[in-house]
């Protein structure tokens, strides 16, 4: 069973439908207790960093336990940004801090939010990117992006005026700034890789 953390931010149908489509056995989980026994956990995210963290805080302990136990986890969009320590979007709000670094605004002079399909530049081949090639396009909607202190966690970037962190990987954690559930067949491929990782 894959738990989709429902902390009240945004529409979970898309990610639910996408996981269901590929046989991932998703379940929308509204309480921290529901994470126990999950084979994998998806942290979606829509909205501002601060309000996401407000809502997510009650899951923090359960998520950390699962992360430390090695449960495969997938963060999407703001669900990736909350892994960092803090964000320029919501000064003073603390993120989960599992990835050292901060979340910054896209530079002036580019279209903000970045909304549309952009191509990946793969920095490090990982299992979650199996079947994905340099230049494959994914759907992005965001105004901020994560900047990890340890650059080696970055597995893919995209170009939007600056080199934007598009995907990171650390131990059993994988996260994307783009939306795999809105990125057509290539996005479903990443979700299939995630489902396969649950059983390896």
């Amino acid at each position: 069973m894959i738990a989709i953390v429902n902390y009240g931010m945004g529409n979970l149908f898309s990610i639910y439908n996408a996981l269901d489509r590929i046989g991932g056995d998703p379940r929308i989980v509204p309480d921290p207790e529901g994470l126990a026994g999950a084979d994998g956990i998806v942290v979606p995210g829509v909205g501002a960093f601060g309000s996401c963290m407000d809502q997510l805080s009650r899951f923090e302990g359960s998520l950390l336990r699962a992360f430390q136990e090695g449960v495969p986890m997938l963060g999407i969009c703001v669900g990736m940004q909350v892994l960092f320590e803090e964000s320029e979007e919501s000064p003073g709000a603390k993120g989960l801090g599992w990835i050292k670094g901060n979340v910054v605004r896209l530079p002036d002079g580019v279209m903000i939010p970045q909304m549309g399909w952009n191509s990946l530049s793969i920095k490090r081949p990982v299992e979650m990117l199996e079947g994905i090639s340099n230049g494959d396009m994914f759907y992005f909607v965001h105004s901020y992006y994560g900047r990890p202190v340890d650059r080696s966690v970055i597995v893919a970037t995209t170009d939007h005026g600056v080199e934007v962190t598009a995907a990171i990987a650390k131990d059993n954690l994988f996260a994307t700034q783009f939306h795999p559930e809105k990125s057509g067949a290539k996005g479903l491929k990443i979700l299939e890789n995630f489902v396969r990782c649950l059983h390896c």
Binding site: F13, R21, P113, W117, G184
Partner: protein, 270 residues
């Protein structure tokens, strides 16, 4: 670099069970193109970057029909879905988002009550609000209007509403700028002079709006061939091109259109 998007538009008559996709010229000579969720599925498989559903009916039960169309579509279509037609309140927008829409498009209701743009974008974000503008050329240099040079002479653009049946006196370019300041995240710009003509997009209109707002502009109205899409992408900063008939009636396949554009140097997702 963001790719230029190709967006099929489904005009939906929701007065029949399950709805049906229609296309006509000013509501005359209506042709039936298919069942909404089936067509959406076909376009998704063909490589559509996004799909727009517009409710063109005024029946009483339509909202429920639209939400069931979106729910059904989002089970098998994994690209962004935009939904519009008759959304007048945050509550009505919520129903559509909850059914699986990623964006809503506003037209008449926003012209009548511009606050609706910020009410929805405050709750769902700018990226979720597309302002649809139906613009018609008015030739001459009227004071206080945003004048655009065209091969046919200088003109300004007037917004229409109620599906093109009434005019507002509002300057389309000024309205686009106002809507951006209110939180619109994207503009779906339809040329009423070109819609249904198959003469290609209104290039001066698209160019003027795309240069004057800093949000994505979707060009619409008049597209009959991949050449028209090539022209709008080469001559304007439009982020996307929207078309209906050329896809509905099998004249062009989305994949073939994108290959055509890519071969000519346009950055598209293939």
């Amino acid at each position: 670099m963001l790719a230029r998007r190709i967006i099929p538009c489904l005009d939906c008559d929701l007065g029949v069970p399950g709805g049906r996709v229609v296309k006509g010229i000013e509501f005359k000579q209506i042709r039936y193109a298919g069942i909404p969720w089936e067509l959406a599925g076909r376009y998704y498989e063909d490589g559509a970057d996004e799909i727009v559903f517009l409710d063109i009916t005024a029946s009483h039960e339509r909202r429920e029909t639209m939400t069931s169309v979106i729910k059904k579509t989002s089970e098998s279509v994994f690209v962004p879905l935009a939904v519009g037609g008759g959304i007048k309140s945050v509550d009505e927008a919520r129903e559509v988002f909850n059914a699986g829409a990623d964006k809503i498009t506003l037209n008449t209701s926003a012209l009548k009550r511009p606050e609706l743009i910020s009410e929805i974008s405050d709750r769902y974000g700018n990226q979720a609000v597309v302002l649809a503008i139906d613009a018609k050329r008015r030739y001459g240099q009227e004071a206080g209007r945003e004048i655009v040079e065209t091969p046919e002479g200088p003109c300004w653009f007037e917004c229409s509403f109620y599906g093109g049946r009434e005019f507002t006196g509002i300057d389309a370019i000024a309205w686009a700028k106002d809507a951006v300041s209110r939180g619109a995240g994207e503009i779906l710009l339809t040329s009423m002079d070109r819609d249904g003509t198959y003469d290609g997009f209104d290039i001066p209109l698209t160019d003027a709006v795309a240069k004057r707002v800093r949000i994505p502009v979707i060009a619409s109205g008049g597209c009959a061939s991949p050449d028209h899409m090539l022209e709008v992408f080469q001559k304007t900063e439009a982020s996307a091109a929207l078309a209906a008939s050329i896809f509905h009636f099998g004249e062009w396949n989305i994949r073939d259109v994108k290959t055509y554009l890519k071969e000519r140097g346009v950055n598209v997702r293939v």
